[in-house]
């Protein structure tokens, strides 16, 4: 439905948005920048989940909704499914993607990693990557919110390009 755009355009827009919010709009307040990026992701996830659940019946329980996120939603967004889903059956889910599409091209600057310090003007690679990851967290939160589940999502990037998203459902 609708027209199509090249994927590199989307990549470019997302990179520029994250970098604009992190470095120019709120350069001294990284928490505010993170919240804004997450809020943008929330809007996007809200609208996308509306579009992708048009023909489906209502979800029976939380697990069904999370499985929808893992399979259909993720394959619409990133052309693959979530590789690993873990839960503690008490409202916490861990979604693991072993080759997250937006992280495949990040390579941390080896010199900066060796020095292990971030100068005051520039963000280190790890900071920028975590800023970038707030956007998919927001998307997941927005999608679940539209399905009636309010939750908190955080990302964990211990080894790129694999990353995992932790969803905590508010009881």
């Amino acid at each position: 439905m609708g027209r199509e755009v090249a994927e590199s355009c989307i990549d470019g827009v997302i990179i520029e948005m994250v970098s604009a919010y992190a470095s120019s709009f709120y350069s001294s307040k990284p928490d505010l920048a993170a919240r804004r990026i997450e809020a943008i992701g929330f809007q996007v996830g809200h609208q996308l989940s509306e579009r992708y659940t048009m023909e489906r019946p209502r979800f029976a329980d939380h697990l069904e909704a999370i499985k929808f996120i893992c399979k259909d939603f993720w394959s619409e967004l990133f052309k693959k499914q979530i590789d690993n889903l873990k839960t503690n059956h008490r409202g916490t889910f861990v979604l693991q993607d072993n080759h997250f599409r937006w992280l495949t091209r990040i390579s941390l600057d080896p010199a900066a990693v060796a020095n292990n310090d971030a100068t005051s003007e520039s963000e280190s690679g790890a900071d920028m990557t975590s800023m970038l990851l707030y956007f998919p967290c927001g998307i997941i939160r927005g999608a679940l919110n539209n399905l009636g589940i309010s939750c908190a999502v955080s990302a964990d990037m211990t080894n790129l390009p694999a990353c995992s998203f932790v969803i905590r459902i508010k009881a």
Partner: protein, 177 residues
Amino acid sequence: MQFFSGSTSTESSLLPAAPPGTGAGGPGNNAHMLYIFNRAGVCLLYREWNRPLRTLDPQQDHKLMFGLLFSLRSFTAKIDPTTAEKGNLGVPLLPGQGCSFYSFKTNTYQLNFMETPSGIKLILITHSRTGDQREALKYIYNLYVEYVVKNPLYVPSTPIQCDLFTKNLDQYVRTLI
């Protein structure tokens, strides 16, 4: 440019009659060096795999290389006998204007050159028995776009320090003949 004094050089170990595609080629690589410049002459990347002789310090080397190719491109476009419009000598050429020179060969090495419409110049120096390297340069440019331009952490027009790019580049160059 560089004068290899003495009749023998270490390249003699690199000139096997290896069939294309094997890339085995003896102890070293078949490609010697790679330079990437942007439109303003900033050297974005300099990689060397096999360089027996160094005559200049790196800064001068980069400036000389950029200046040479700038003038050479202008010169080859101006003495082209097949095109009608020439323009004045000394007017800087836009990327893509005029005929495009793509390599020169000496008895010891071959310099392959490619310029993209965005002004990125790729210079690959190989030993003199290699054939046309335009496909290889296009592939390297593709690697540059994928791993450098699309890297969220890369600031444009600064020297490239991306791990993924250099790793893939080394891997690809090892398969070149």
